[in-house]
């Protein structure tokens, strides 16, 4: 195990970016305003894209550059743009989606990070680049996104959370495994694109049917007693 200071700069940079992404995830979790949440999400996409490029440079794998571009276009630009446009058309851009007990939520997120680290500790350490720790971070990203999904009421913020979940996965794919096979990566990108479009369609459907985007109102189908 080498000391952190002995690592090449590029690796230190990659870790810094990883930490930044984690921070953006926390920020997302705490962000109550819709527009701000989308902006943070765009920043996260940008950070992810930059991280991918760094990894690509570090490992010299050309297809990671494609991934970097893809994620930049898709996650930092297109999807935020789409979400902002939709929100504007729906008139919810300035809405609040109050975070339930923000302090508690952030503490829970912190606990989750520790938990995730605990989970991956038994993985045997290889003297390669960031691997085990990358998994821990990506696991934490996924978990925090899930936590955000649970704590948000608005459809739009749920979508942001969902997309940030995808970011966590992408992070894992990039840092832990230096990208997936190309066919898989293209497929994933395609799916995310379609999903974003479908989300857009749904916002209107939901608004048309319940006249709000508060998903807590969507509870007609249930098994509980009235």
């Amino acid at each position: 195990m080498t000391a952190y200071a002995d690592l090449p700069l590029i690796e230190q940079l990659i870790r810094t970016f990883a930490a930044l992404i984690l921070v953006s995830s926390f920020a997302l979790l705490a962000q109550a305003r819709v527009v701000a949440a989308i902006q943070v999400f765009a920043w996260q996409g940008f950070l992810l894209s930059a991280l991918t490029a760094l990894v690509a440079w570090n490992s010299g794998l050309p297809h990671l550059y494609i991934s970097a571009v893809l994620s930049l276009v898709l996650k930092a630009l297109f999807i935020p743009w789409l979400l902002i446009r939709q929100s504007r058309r729906l008139g919810i851009l300035r809405d609040f989606d109050a975070v339930i007990r923000p302090g508690l939520t952030l503490m829970a997120a912190g606990t989750l990070v520790i938990f995730c680290y605990n989970v991956v500790i038994p993985v045997r350490e290889f003297t390669q680049i960031v691997t085990r720790d990358a998994i821990a971070v990506s696991l934490a990203l996924v978990m925090i996104s899930l936590l955000m999904l649970i704590t948000r009421r608005k459809a739009i913020t749920q979508v942001v959370a969902f997309m940030s979940l995808e970011n966590g996965l992408f992070f894992a794919a990039v840092t832990a495994t230096q990208g997936m096979p190309m066919v898989v990566e293209l497929g994933i990108a395609f799916d995310v694109l379609i999903a974003a479009v479908i989300f857009g369609v749904f916002f209107f459907h939901i608004r048309d049917s319940i006249e709000t985007l508060d998903v807590d109102q969507l509870s007609r189908l249930r098994e509980m007693d009235e």
């Binding site: 038994p122 990506s138 979940l165 894992a172 898989v184 048309d208 969507l218």
Partner: protein, 492 residues
């Protein structure tokens, strides 16, 4: 290989064609022709695999396990498309759907079939994931086809829950890739199932265990395992009935297929027993399966909607299959494979009759569906016999598989037969307490028969009956090969 190409490309092409065909009527016929062609190709493929052994390609792999699922998928696709034509025309007449949405419906139907076949035949776990996600995307707009508030709610829940689930599965896939990348030098091959399976013993067990948990939860959401099942009854009940038929008959199977494939790798990785209980995957599946089986049985008692009723029955049966695969061993595996087949056939037949029944009554509410045998005997008897079959009464095939399963449980973990027994009783009573008043009873006023094609139901139930009386040797060998593949030893 050509057969495989045709099998896969038919629905893809049909989806593209149907996306531009304007007339719903012609669309319905194209739909049937395409599924018929696909079924013919799948039969050819199955014949080839039966004769010449498994096809092992880099990207595609067709072995004993998936070839029968491919054949089953195209068969259920065919009969559902036959059922869907008059059904959807009736919906069109009632103005519940517009011709434009019919276009979406037909295109999505074929698109869904394509994703199913792709996920079954691919050798790449990444592609498997992409295809399953594609299946969600293809069907989510079908769930909200009627644009009622309930259907949109159902579609939203379906989309988010399955989306989150599938994202978790992707994380699991990434972890698997991570584990494999250390062992397999060529990164392009590191996600290929056959490669992973061959190198399973060298994979890092801790990573594989974490990956399995993510994959189990991810694909388990699609299988409908309790407590991840919540999207399933909503999506089944609010979408058009042909879609419920294929969701229950196919999607759940394919998701379970994915879980089993992953379990095979996990078992290989954990076999050494260094880091974890070597039975971890099986134990988890047994736990989830049993929970689903019991809880879904209880849910059956409180249903008011006929399609929800049968979707809980699907959860129950998927739980049973998951339990059986988790139990392992040739007897249980054989039973689970058989159960997959007969459950798809029976459940899709049931959904066909359920669709007609709710068209006759004009509602899906159980309390308003009455006296089907008097109104339209074909529908009433179809529903009754289908339910008898699904409840596990001989001479139908479901009984055979449940027989194998129960005896296998008795052999390896006898105490689990107690909850199984309770589950069967609870589920049966839950199903039949609602079913009987629907099919029996006096002629209700103001309900008249509707146009239906009896072929799909008859065909499916006849097949299930045949499988119950005697499994043809060729099919038995198939099942046995698959059993050998999954559990390591065969029965024949």
């Amino acid at each position: 290989m050509i057969a495989l190409v045709i099998t896969l490309s038919t629905p893809l092409l049909a989806a593209l064609v149907l996306a531009v065909v304007r007339s719903p009527r012609i669309g319905g016929w194209i739909n049937i022709s395409a599924t018929a062609a696909g079924f013919a190709a799948a039969t050819w493929l199955a014949w080839t695999v039966l004769g010449q052994g498994a096809i092992h390609g880099d990207q595609f792999q067709v072995d004993a396990f998936n070839v029968y699922l491919i054949a089953l998928t195209s068969l259920v696709g065919l009969s559902t498309s036959i059922f869907s034509r008059p059904y959807m025309e009736h919906e069109l007449e009632l103005r519940r759907v517009t011709p434009r949405r019919m276009r979406l419906y037909h295109a999505s139907f074929q698109g869904f079939l394509f994703t199913m076949l792709l996920s079954l035949s691919t050798n790449n776990l990444g592609v498997l994931w992409v295809a399953l996600e594609g299946a969600t995307l293809a069907t989510v707009l079908l769930v909200s086809l009627y644009r009622t508030p309930e259907s949109i709610e159902a579609a939203w829940k379906y989309f988010i829950l399955c989306g989150v689930g599938i994202a978790q599965a992707l994380f699991g896939t990434v972890l698997l890739y991570f584990a494999a990348a250390r062992v397999v030098p060529d990164p392009e091959r590191a996600l290929q199932w056959s490669v992973l399976y061959a190198h399973a013993g060298q994979l890092e067990p801790v990573v594989v265990a974490i990956a399995f948990i993510f994959l189990l939860i991810g694909y388990g959401t699609k299988v409908g395992l309790v407590p991840l099942h919540n999207w399933l009854p909503d999506a089944h009940s609010e979408g058009p009935t042909p879609m419920s038929a294929v969701l229950s008959g196919l999607l759940l199977n394919v998701a379970l297929y994915a879980v089993v494939r992953v379990k095979m790798i996990t078992d290989g990785a954990l076999a050494a027993g260094v880091a974890h209980d070597p039975q971890l995957a099986g134990r988890l599946m047994m736990g989830f399966g049993l929970t689903s089986f019991l809880v879904a049985g209880l849910f059956l008692h409180r249903q008011k909607d006929i399609k929800r009723l049968f979707s809980y029955s699907s959860i129950e049966h998927m739980g049973l299959m998951t339990f059986a695969f988790g139990l392992g061993g040739p007897l249980a595996t054989f039973g689970a494979l058989l159960h997959m087949t007969v459950h798809s056939l029976t459940k899709s037949a049931i959904f066909v009759t359920v669709g007609h029944a709710s068209q006759i009554a004009g509602t899906q509410r159980i309390e308003q569906i009455r006296g089907l045998i008097r109104t339209q005997p074909q529908v009433g008897w179809g529903l009754l016999i289908g339910s008898i079959a699904i409840a596990g009464f001989p001479p139908f095939g479901v009984f055979t598989s449940e027989f194998l399963l129960l005896t296998a449980t008795m052999k390896s973990s006898p105490w689990l037969t107690v909850p199984l027994l309770a589950g069967f009783a609870v589920a049966f009573s839950g199903l039949f307490r609602h079913l009987q008043p629907m099919v029996f009873g006096a002629l209700p006023a103001g309900q008249k028969p509707i146009n239906m094609n009896p072929v799909p139901v008859t065909l499916h139930l006849a097949l299930v009956l045949w499988l119950g009386l005697s499994i043809p040797p060729s099919l038995a060998r198939w099942f046995d090969d698959a059993t050998r593949l999954i559990s390591g030893s065969g029965l024949l």
